[in-house]
Amino acid sequence: MNILKLKKEILPLTELYEKFSKDIFRYSLSILKNEDEAKDAVQEVFVKYAESESSFKGDCSQKTWLLVITRNYCYNRISNKGFNSGSIDSEVLRRSYENNFEVVISLKDALKTLTSEQNELLYLLEYEGYSYKEIAELTAQTIENVKIKIYRARKKLREILK
């Protein structure tokens, strides 16, 4: 998917919601790591989209615009006080490492051990199918940084799930 490709078809808001609300939820979940927060994020993202619809110039796809709004909202939400992220119990992990205590950790829990940024990159890469270049544009960083961060996320997941 070319992030810069112009999408001529502009969907109305209701169709946009039907088509992309699940993706926005998944993207929000990858960053926020909390289902309730992710559900709220979906609502807020589409509200913000509706409010800024007139300023959408069509220089990117509507989905990309939604993802940008989602990213901004989620990271703002994380930086707010009182944000409750769903992180895995660190005590469980510590005991599993120290005592060779066999703890079945699901991929879901393992993903929660990653940072929001690592989760976000894996989501955009594995699920959305974006290239390194597209991810770098969306997240405002270099391709080299994207490459390194993805590798480190995979390495950490591999160690936890081993």
Partner: protein, 208 residues
């Protein structure tokens, strides 16, 4: 970064389809020699599939579609409607009040106009009466001066009578006023008393 890490990064790039073509052959030759690197390759490939599968299975109930547009856009129109309705009500009340005030003011104005006309008529009447009074006053003064001069003449004539008896001054017949009291009364009550010709001396009313 270590060589092991460099190799693992290249493995990660390759499974994402991001490794340049000129480096792929080198990577395969390294994988052929390194079992651990092959293990990393297999694990990274499994993770890629599992993470993709994980996110695909996440369900989100998007039905019913929430009224987020109504929630955030209707109030704008609603508030506009309420403001405009309130403004129109206020405007209508102001208009009604103005018309009612102007109506009462018109009635007051017409009343004042009528009074003004009445006062003007009264003024005109009084002015006429004043003019009549002045005329009368002038007449009286004239007559008094005439009578005084006659008295003086009669005195003089009595003295000169001894010398020239032939000269006689014709006597004018003077009609004395029937009563001076009536004239005084007429002077006092101009508006109520009729003034006739016979009230003046000699039947001659100067000015008529």
């Amino acid at each position: 970064m270590t060589k092991v890490e460099d190799l693992e990064i290249k493995i990660s790039e390759y499974i994402d389809g991001e490794l340049p073509e000129n480096e792929i052959q080198e990577l395969f030759s390294l994988l052929a020699e390194n079992q651990k690197a092959r293990k990393v390759f297999e694990d990274f490939l499994k993770l890629k599939k599992n993470v993709s599968h994980f996110y695909s299975n996440i369900d989100f109930n998007s039905n019913p579609i929430p009224d987020f547009r109504e929630k955030h856009t209707k109030p704008k129109y609603k508030s506009l409607f309420y403001y405009s309705a309130a403004a129109s009500i206020v405007f209508a009340v102001l208009l009604l009040w103005r018309f009612s005030v102007s109506g009462s003011m018109n009635a007051q104005y017409s009343e004042l106009q009528k009074e003004h006309i009445k006062l003007q008529e009264n003024y005109t009447t009084l002015l006429e009466e004043k003019i009549e009074l002045i005329k009368l006053n002038n007449l009286v003064a004239q007559k008094l001066s005439e009578s005084n001069s006659q008295v003086m003449n009669s005195k003089n004539s009595s003295k000169s009578d001894k010398k020239t008896k032939s000269k006689t001054i014709p006597k004018k017949t003077i009609n004395k006023p029937k009563s001076s009291g009536k004239m005084l009364a007429s002077l006092r009550n101009v508006s109520t008393v009729e003034i006739t010709k016979s009230d003046f001396l000699g039947g001659q009313v100067i000015g008529n």
